[in-house]
């Protein structure tokens, strides 16, 4: 047998290669889009894994601490630590902000970690790629390498400045921002404490309120002021369990006795994947649909034009007795060839461009396989119009009037 499609492709290779490259770039974008979604899910999982927690205790009725804001009194963890089944419980704060170093500023998630150490205290970065962990209770930071910070860099968070003493990897927020770990006290200050002006203003207002400044009650104003300026909160308590404990049982106990909201790992994952990135996922899904339609339109257009150019040859082929199957096969094979060229170009483009994207792009082989078959299906669908036209060509046209 002879491959008419193959011969035509070799003959008109320029058209095929250039269309294939164009289509390939589209497919590449599609694969990267899928990779962005996978990256977001993976970032979410990494966030949960690296927190070292098995339960997340958050403000009652919130989806905190990642998907919604949550605040708890910073002594809540003591009561939780005393619950049966709980091995460790540690405060943690999360605050997404611009972190400045001497050169520029970078968007980061500032994590306040309770005193302790890696492994011993949930919330600590599990491993470092350079430097050391935080050893002092103030003004030291461990930063994710993705932040661009280096050992010894000084960075400013609110009023204080911190020295980067260690670097870690793959510690990112669910939106892909690199993490910067600082001691809990500093982080609480950054997040919850008022600045000097606000403090002064608040004292002035309290002092002006006759209810607090009573001549007959000395010391009341001072007490109120102290209470107002030391209200210490955290965003969540990270909990690890004693070996063999059922997370759901312990979570239920904490909910019942402490009247707090508690999430297990699967619940947290469904919040991150199902709620926090759901809109982004839909957005990406829309893009995938549009890209699929555009790709189909391109393949359909090209195959249709290539077939139009061959109307006379097709009439001749039919006249001399070529079967419809052979002619349809030729067009279909060309569409598929275009798809395969496009997919190869797209896969290469995606693979080489993925690391250049600011967000994590995770290319999963499964997505490539699905993408490959989607491309083939698109090509088959796109060739229908051309095949119908070719089959309608009248062999009598080859003879003419």
């Amino acid at each position: 047998m002879i491959s008419l499609a193959g011969r035509d492709i070799v003959h008109a290779w320029g058209k095929f290669v250039f269309t294939g490259i164009g289509l390939g770039l589209l497919i590449g974008v599609t694969l990267v889009m899928a990779g962005v979604y996978r990256g977001m899910v993976d970032d979410g999982r990494a966030l949960l894994d690296n927190s070292g927690a098995e339960l997340w205790v958050v403000q009652r009725g919130t989806l905190g601490p990642y998907a919604e804001s949550s605040s708890l009194y910073d002594d809540t963890y003591r009561a939780i630590r005393a619950m049966p089944g709980v091995a460790k419980a540690a405060n943690v704060t999360y605050l997404t902000m611009q972190v400045r170093d001497s050169r520029s500023d970078v968007r980061a998630m500032v994590v306040g970690i309770a005193p302790g150490g890696p492994g011993a205290t949930p919330g600590w970065p599990p491993y470092l790629v350079a430097g050391r962990h935080i050893t002092r209770s103030h003004y030291e930071a461990v930063a994710d390498v993705a932040s661009g910070l280096r050992l010894g860099d000084r960075l400013a968070i609110r009023r204080n400045s911190y020295t980067v003493v260690g670097l870690t990897r793959r510690m990112v927020s669910s939106s892909g921002d690199p993490m910067v770990f600082i001691p809990l006290k500093d982080a609480q200050e950054a997040q919850f404490l008022k600045d000097n002006d606000a403090l002064w203003q608040s004292r002035r207002r309290t002092g002006a309120n006759p209810a607090f400044d009573r001549p007959g009650v000395p010391g009341l104003l001072d007490a109120v002021n102290a209470a107002q300026s030391t209200n210490a909160f955290v965003n969540a308590v990270l909990v690890t369990l004693e070996p063999g404990r059922d997370p759901d049982e312990v979570a239920a106990a904490i909910r019942r006795w402490r009247r707090l909201t508690v999430y297990t790992r699967p619940q947290m994952e469904s919040i991150l994947v199902g709620k926090l990135i759901a809109t982004s996922a839909k957005q990406i899904g829309m893009f995938l649909v549009i890209l699929a339609i555009v790709s189909a339109a391109i393949v359909a257009f090209i195959i249709y034009t290539l077939t139009m150019d061959k109307i006379r040859e097709i009439a001749v082929l039919k006249l001399i007795g070529t079967r419809d199957r052979t002619i349809a096969g030729m067009i279909l094979q060309q569409a598929l060839a275009l798809g395969v060229i496009g997919f190869v170009v797209g896969k290469i483009t995606a693979t080489f461009s993925a690391p250049m994207f600011p967000k994590y792009v995770l290319l999963v082989p499964f997505d490539s396989v699905v993408g490959f078959f989607a491309v083939l299906v698109i090509c088959v669908v796109a060739s229908i119009a051309a095949i119908r036209m070719a089959l309608r060509v009248d062999p009598a046209e080859a003879i003419g009037g």
Binding site: R7, V10, R312, I320, G321
Partner: protein, 239 residues
């Protein structure tokens, strides 16, 4: 001549229906024996192309009978089932323009039909080459059609029409794009082929130069044919 060659009796073709119907063929009789080349001539609009299309099983006649060898193709509205296979196996076409497949080289243009019919590539190519040699274009065997002169293309097209050794070849103005010397060559080739492969060949033409070469000519006018003995002059172009 018996049942050999191609024979039509009372062939009619009506295009359209009602008020706009056109009777392009009004009862045509014709017979061409194996090894014979006949001319089909007539003014524009007389029905030449329509007749050729009916003979080629490209369009179906409205009435009449056509037999090819011993096989009945059409009989008053009845027709054989697979006309495309019939065309592939029994009828060779040579067009006014060569209509070669531009993405196949000369050999494969000729070998295409047997290849599509399942003949091994090597075998199909060797019979193609044999024909190309007979037609004296074997030196262009691996060239692409676009690199060939008009005369070479027409010879390749003739080779393609002959490759399945069809009992009938239909040629529509095969000499139109050629100068008179080459036109003579093409007609001589068709004549040679007709003898060599026992083929019945019908040549539609306007070409005054080649008309005298036919031994038998059918004139067609207003959908009716008249047979005439031709001059049967030699192919030296001096006639």
């Amino acid at each position: 001549m018996g049942g050999k060659g191609i024979r039509i009796e009372g062939l009619k073709k009506r295009y359209g229906s009602g008020d706009t119907a056109v009777d392009a063929l009004k009862g045509v009789d014709m017979q061409v024996a194996p090894g014979e080349v006949v001319g089909l001539i007539g003014p524009s609009g007389s029905g030449k192309s329509t007749l050729l299309k009916c003979l080629g099983a490209v369009i179906d006649p409205t009435a009449g009978r056509m037999t090819l060898g011993d096989e009945v193709i059409y009989d008053d509205g009845w027709k054989v089932r697979d006309l495309r296979a019939l065309r592939r196996d029994k009828i060779g076409f040579v067009f006014q323009a060569p209509y070669l497949i531009p993405f196949l080289d000369v050999t494969d243009n000729v070998a295409l039909l047997p290849m599509l019919a399942g003949v091994a590539n090597a075998e199909a190519r060797s019979s193609a080459l044999e024909l190309l040699t007979a037609l004296d274009v074997q030196h262009r065997a691996r060239a692409m059609p676009s690199r060939l002169s008009g005369g070479e293309q027409q010879r390749v097209a003739i080779a393609r029409g002959l490759v399945n050794r069809p009992p009938v070849i239909l040629a529509d103005e095969p000499t139109a794009p050629l100068d008179s010397e080459r036109a003579m060559t093409v007609i001589r080739i068709l004549d040679d082929m007709a003898r060599k492969y026992e083929t019945a060949i019908i040549v539609v033409t306007h070409d005054e130069k080649i008309i005298p070469t036919f031994r038998r000519v059918y004139h067609i006018r207003d959908g009716v044919t008249h047979e005439e003995a031709g001059e049967g002059r030699p192919f030296d172009g001096t006639g």
